[in-house]
């Protein structure tokens, strides 16, 4: 009786996470998990930015609070940096999986169909994942250069840009029409990416049950719609003058200091 034996059963096995990551299905799990991590950040980021509608003081208060997360337990900005490192890890792994699987897929069909394909199920979102991902990544670095790093020539507010003046920097940046267009394009790319990604998550991690399968697509539509509509409101309402920059940068001073 020759029982089924895995190819690598006799060989020495690598530690579980490495061996799992080496397989394409393992990479899809990583892609799903890191993607969900990035989505949760995108959702929190959007909700946090809604503070913009409460005015400069509230917004800056929130921005400074993020640096002081868990402050009596951990020193200032440590929690924020831990979250950032997690986010960077998610981003790097997500991108590496995408690259590695794309290369695998190219090898799987070196000679393409010579006649026109007629796709029945694959939609624009599922077929443009790598492009919407690249578009949004480019925007992401521009966005960091504009508001986090304050790179000269990119940042809003010009010479009056100052680190820590979150509301002033943001509203002066969004006041530029070309920036508003950039935000709109990038967020549409994000929405298209999330629409396929959020549904795909369930399939990749094997969460498939007739009881909730019908909700998976609805969840994907709902999640991407909430994030994208929230994000789009910032540049659009700024362009229509609903949010206005403060005349001069306001220094935020935490209570009692």
């Amino acid at each position: 009786m020759a029982a089924v034996t895995a190819d690598n059963a006799v060989k020495r096995r690598l530690p579980f996470p490495i061996e799992f990551y080496r397989s394409a299905i393992g990479k899809k799990y990583v892609m799903a998990a890191t993607g969900m991590g990035l989505v949760l950040f995108a959702l929190a980021h959007m909700v946090g930015n809604l503070k913009m509608y409460l005015g400069a003081a509230e917004f800056d208060h929130y921005a400074h609070f993020l640096r002081e997360l868990l402050v009596p337990i951990l020193p200032r900005t440590v929690t924020l940096w831990l979250l950032r490192l997690g986010l960077i890890a998610c981003f790097v792994l997500h991108t590496h999986c995408a690259y590695s699987l794309t290369m695998m897929n190219r090898r799987a069909r070196t000679v393409d169909y010579q006649s026109k394909r007629d796709y029945l199920a694959a939609n624009f979102a599922s077929r443009s994942m790598r492009w919407t991902g690249i578009i949004f990544t480019l925007f992401l670095f521009w966005h960091l250069a504009d508001l986090t790093w304050g790179v000269k020539g990119i940042r809003g507010g010009g010479d009056t840009w100052k680190r820590g003046f979150a509301y002033y920097n943001l509203t002066s940046s969004l006041g530029r029409p070309i920036v508003a267009v950039l935000y709109i394009v990038a967020n549409i790319a994000l929405g298209v990416h999330l629409f396929h990604g959020a549904w795909s998550f369930f399939q990749s991690v094997g969460w498939n049950n007739p009881r909730f399968n019908a909700w998976r697509k609805k969840f994907a539509i709902g999640l991407s719609a909430v994030i994208v509509l929230g994000n789009l409101s910032f540049p659009i309402l700024r362009q229509f003058g609903v949010t206005k920059p403060s005349k001069a940068p306001i220094e935020y001073t935490p209570n009692g200091s």
Partner: protein
């Protein structure tokens, strides 16, 4: 057919039955991929397919074209076929950009010419994937699928006398789910349809078929690991387009891929086989 139809039915003097159905004929323009061998670059060649009966299957239409080509002393078109009743998985073909043509839940052998209209241009191409190399014209070598099945697409049983029927209870919904997966004929339409050239639906069907049943439990995780690892040597990866389940002539759902993914994670976590082994 003719012998019984020509015999008068019923009482003497009853009228002879008229021919039941006179099939309409259509004229098509075929663009067929011709390739002399694996090394040849290949090209599309155009053929006039005139006077094709609507009652023919797509393969019978190709038979007619081939007879005409042979009469002209030309090389006939090579294509895979066997049972011609949709259960063997031999036939293939990309017909107008869709594996097995435009009809859902239908293999090429059961695709009737009445699904095409008079004067239509029909483009016929072989299935394409690196692990499905073209042998000649429309014939591809799908033996990579055999490698996947060899890796674990079976159960190990003691070859004694036949066990009593229903000795092992199988719940009805489980039997049904396993049966749906077992309907896979291994034609390769899922790979052909997949923009990534992935064989996840085929492998998931073969795994799901056995992993659902009690008889398949003993080797469940070893099977999943071995078959998936073998699959990944040959094919691309799944990005959840869902194109495979649309192309599948047996309408197997991508739900089985989710099941396979779940079992694959478990297979990598389980290490029962390694307990008590010296390092």
């Amino acid at each position: 057919m003719t012998a019984t139809m020509n015999r008068p039915l019923g009482e003497p003097g009853a009228s002879r039955p008229k021919p039941v159905h006179v099939s309409k004929t259509i004229n098509l323009t075929l663009k067929v991929w011709r390739q002399k061998g694996p090394k040849d670059t290949g090209r599309f060649e155009t053929y006039k397919a005139e006077g094709i009966s609507e009652d023919m299957s797509f393969l019978e239409m190709l038979d007619v074209i081939n007879e005409r080509l042979l009469a002209e002393n030309k090389e006939p078109i090579t294509f895979d076929h066997d049972c011609r009743e949709g259960i063997c998985g031999s036939c293939s073909l990309m017909i107008n950009g869709i594996p097995h043509g435009p009809e859902t839940a239908t293999a090429t052998c059961q695709l009737h010419m009445r699904k095409f209209h008079d004067g239509q241009e029909v483009v016929v191409e072989p299935f394409r994937a690196t692990s499905f190399p073209i042998v000649k014209d429309l014939m591809v070598d799908r033996s990579a699928f055999d490698r996947i099945v060899e890796a674990g697409g079976y159960i190990t049983v003691f070859p004694g006398s036949a066990p009593d029927a229903n000795l092992i209870p199988v719940p009805k919904p489980v039997a049904d789910a396993a049966f749906i997966a077992a309907a896979c004929i291994g034609c390769g339409a899922c790979v052909a349809a997949c923009p990534n050239g992935a064989a996840n639906l085929f492998t998931a069907a073969k795994i799901g078929h056995m992993n659902l049943l009690p008889q398949g439990q003993a080797e469940r995780y070893a099977r999943t690991e071995a078959m998936v690892d073998t699959m990944e040597k040959f094919f691309g990866s799944c990005t959840n387009h869902g194109e495979c389940q649309e192309a599948c002539p047996k309408e197997i759902s991508i739900d089985y891929i989710a099941l396979m993914n779940k079992d694959y994670l478990r297979s990598k976590l389980k290490n029962r086989r390694y307990l008590s082994r010296k390092p």
